[in-house]
């Protein structure tokens, strides 16, 4: 089977507070440490597990992003992915959900995939919309929030996370599958993985390779516009209050203010 996994390089969510540049209205990506989205690490683990259990399958990681995103793809290769594709083009900067999904779908279409893995959502944007949009552009079914996936013949069966448990959902292949974060243990690369990652096939595509018009993607194609960027209510730096009998009320007020009740 030809399996694909869509991945993304993001500012390290654990150490970097995600910031927007008021001038460009885009995510600040300079001067911060960039990593493969931790959510994608578990998605890759799920894809590798499936590839290995199916046998005779190839797993390709695909990403859209600036040149620096090859580092994230190298990490995916080190983890055990067989091949990587990076779609990089200046015209892609500022792409929204649809632009991103359109681009990835165009690249995936050339490959005739059997199964496309995505994370449920990225750890920086959290929209969770790209996988569904890719599925729509490719005309494929989508199996979302999977915490377990099995392929049985020409069908995929997943356990789909719900509020109270899970649903067993099946669909014909090819399909897009999104993996619920934390469902799989991320793979820490072996030395062999790290060394062989340098030699595995790595291709780079531009917009013209995909036959996409620049007006459909990037900032030009965006269907949303940022009007302004403001400062959030500064996270009140540790308000410390001595209990004078009204602590319960103070806490309850706090919870209510933040819609936590």
């Amino acid at each position: 089977m030809k399996i694909f996994v869509c991945v993304k390089q993001i500012p390290d969510p654990n150490t970097v507070e995600s910031k927007l540049d008021p001038a460009t209205k885009r995510l600040v990506r300079t001067g911060v440490s960039l990593v493969l989205d931790p959510g994608d690490e578990t998605t890759i683990a799920a894809a590798i597990k499936l590839r290995d259990s199916l046998g005779n399958s190839e797993l390709t990681a695909i990403s859209m992003g600036p040149a620096s995103a090859q580092e994230a793809l190298r990490r995916a290769l080190a983890m055990g992915v067989d091949r990587a594709i990076l779609i990089s083009d200046p015209a892609l900067a500022g792409s929204d959900v649809l632009g991103t999904a359109r681009t990835l779908a165009a690249a995936l279409k050339r490959e005739n995939p059997d199964l496309i893995f995505c994370s449920t959502e990225s750890t920086d944007g959290y929209t969770g919309m790209v996988p569904g949009a890719i599925a729509e552009f490719l005309g494929l079914p989508q199996l979302t929030f999977a915490r377990e996936i099995n392929v049985e013949g020409t069908k995929a069966v997943i356990k789909r996370v719900t509020q109270t448990g899970y649903e067993v959902v099946e669909s014909p292949l090819p399909a897009v599958v999104t993996i619920a974060s934390g469902s799989f243990e991320a793979i820490y690369p072996t030395m062999k993985g790290i060394m062989s990652a340098r030699k595995k096939p790595f291709s780079q595509l531009s917009l013209s390779d995909l036959g996409l018009d620049p007006s459909q993607v990037g900032e030009a194609g965006a269907r949303e516009q940022v009007l302004s960027i403001g400062k959030a209510e500064a996270r009140a730096a540790g308000q410390i209050i001595k209990d004078e009998g009204n602590a319960a009320e103070i806490i309850a007020d706090f919870l209510q203010r933040h819609q936590l009740l």
Binding site: T15, E185, Y188, T190, M191
Partner: protein, 713 residues
Amino acid sequence: MAPPAISPTGGWIGTTIFVVIFLAALTVFGLRVGQLVTLLAKARREDRTDHLEERIGDFLLVVLGQSGVLRDPIPGLAHFFTFWGFIIIQFGLLNLILGAFNGSLLLIGHDHTFAALLDLFVLFVLVSLIVFAVRRGIVRPRQLSSRLHGPWDGFIILGLIFLVLLTLALVETFGFAASHGEEWSLLGSWFGPSFYGLGTATNVALYRVFWWAHILTVLSFLVYLPGSKHLHLMATPFNVFFRNYGPRGALPLLENLEEREDYGVSKAEQFTWKQLLDGYACTECGRCNTVCPATNTGKPLLPKEIILGVKESLLDRRHEIVGEPNLFQKLPLADVRGNGHEEIQPLVGGVISKEALWACTTCGACMEICPVSIEHVPKIVDMRRSLVMEESDFPPEVTSLFNNIERNGNPWEISNDRRAEWAAGLGVPLMAENPEAEVLYWVGCMGSFDQRNRKVATALVKILKAAGVNFAILGPEESCTGDPARRIGNEYLWQMMAQQNIEVLNSYGFNTAQAETATAQHGHGHNGQTSRARTIITACPHCFNTIKNEYPQLGGHYEVIHHSVFIDRLISEGRLQLPSGFDHRKLTYHDPCYVGRYNGVYDEPRRVLAVLNSNGVTEMRRNRNRSFCCGGGGGRAWMEERIGKRVNQTRVNEALETEAEVLAAACPFCIMMFEDGVKGVEAEERLQVEDIAEIVARALEEAATPSATRAGQ
């Protein structure tokens, strides 16, 4: 070469038979030993010929003087006599063998003094045998059980030695009786005359029977030896001679990471010959098990089983390693494992369980106590390396540790930019601001980020300021040393971190090797620094050990001092004025493994504490080089402890036994583990955990405000 009074073989036919049997036994023995030696020859290379003079000296002390085993006095003495008895009995044996050729040993062959000495040792060994048998059969310390050689090996050996002694005594008795005292021996002179009545012919016959019995017992022993734990008899002297003389705290470097085929050890033959020799040398005394913090808290790790597991796996794989046996070797007797085709289990995850490998705190207590210089920890780390770097198979909670060290330069999800935040407002310069600083205070991740250990860092700053030390810290230029990564088996990550740190340290001119060359040239090092050897101090024994003992493997040579030693030095140089006996609380001191056992620092911290505390230092049951680990070393601080008792609580309970109110430590990991341990045993009210620096800093405050309430009053 005077002939014996009686020919033991009774002529050339007997002698011929003897020669044939003797040569056959020697051949089988040779084949078996040859197999063992070939296995070593096929193993990885390692140079152990440095420090020759010390090697010879220690060899004499440990092998001939038996200093290793004598640390445990009762079995130690018994072993001492068995060892020397064995050597002397060999001469007696040679004498008896020469008898078959109508000869005897030069000088001592008929010497009564030698004969008397020989028999005295026969008696000593006999007593020792009784001691051993009682221990093995009745006392039965748990550490003696042997999975590899089964429960009978020990008894078979004891039985064989007993038979050797018995047949020797009988040979002497009937030799004396048959020759009417001409063949003199002490035992013969005691028992021989009672048999005069049997008549000379009978006595001669009995002499010959027992001569044969003695020779055959000895030869069976010889053939049995290589496949038993008594292989140590031959291997131990070599093992002691070739022991490690490098820094004890340094794990071996895994070279050439980019082009290697394997990373660590998953098959026995990937160990170096010395690591494998350890298996041959192991006497299976189990002393290592008795001191191991994992074994003692019910974890599936027994250090002895690690050593024997490696040996077992090596012997199991002998045909894979050496190739199919030839016709000779196919003789079952000629094979160390009796040539059986047992199912071969993998070394890691088979013969040795992964859980056992992950349970190790690398505290080094096993290596410290081993009488025959076996190196347990490097083997464990070698196998961990394979698990981590080849299989990516390690406790899942370690993944984030590795990722964080690699991405953030510290074990947590904290940006390394915030490394100097703890020092805000304390007036601590960064190296970048004070490049001429004499002393670099290497704060380490715990001191920089952990709230509890930040207090230690703050205390140390107070001390340095009070002593007028010109110092600085690196701040965000400092990264994790990589120590936990290395000990968990991620050599790649350690090398990455080490190189990064070495670059920073060198840029400020701390590298002593570099400073020397630079001085030789222009008197100036990199970064325009004056090149002189400058000191790095740290309150973290793990940082201390790896920078001092392991960074040299990558070209980083630094003068590194643990803060307890530095404080001691400041006091003795008079730079630090402390009120003596200001602290009246009862105090005990825990020796951190990487300060004590690995780097031999025992006295300095005690000296500092003794000055301050009116009661001096109350010692715990296990102290100094036998200190019991806090449970946090070897990366264990980052792993779950799911099995057995808690190591930290075990040690805290030991501190509580002394009725001390203060448990003084000198390691951030010990402090973290003990803080948790004290909470775990619910002893917060009774026991405080404090770093030496905190105690000293408080004394300084005390000195500044003499009217303040004295601690503990």
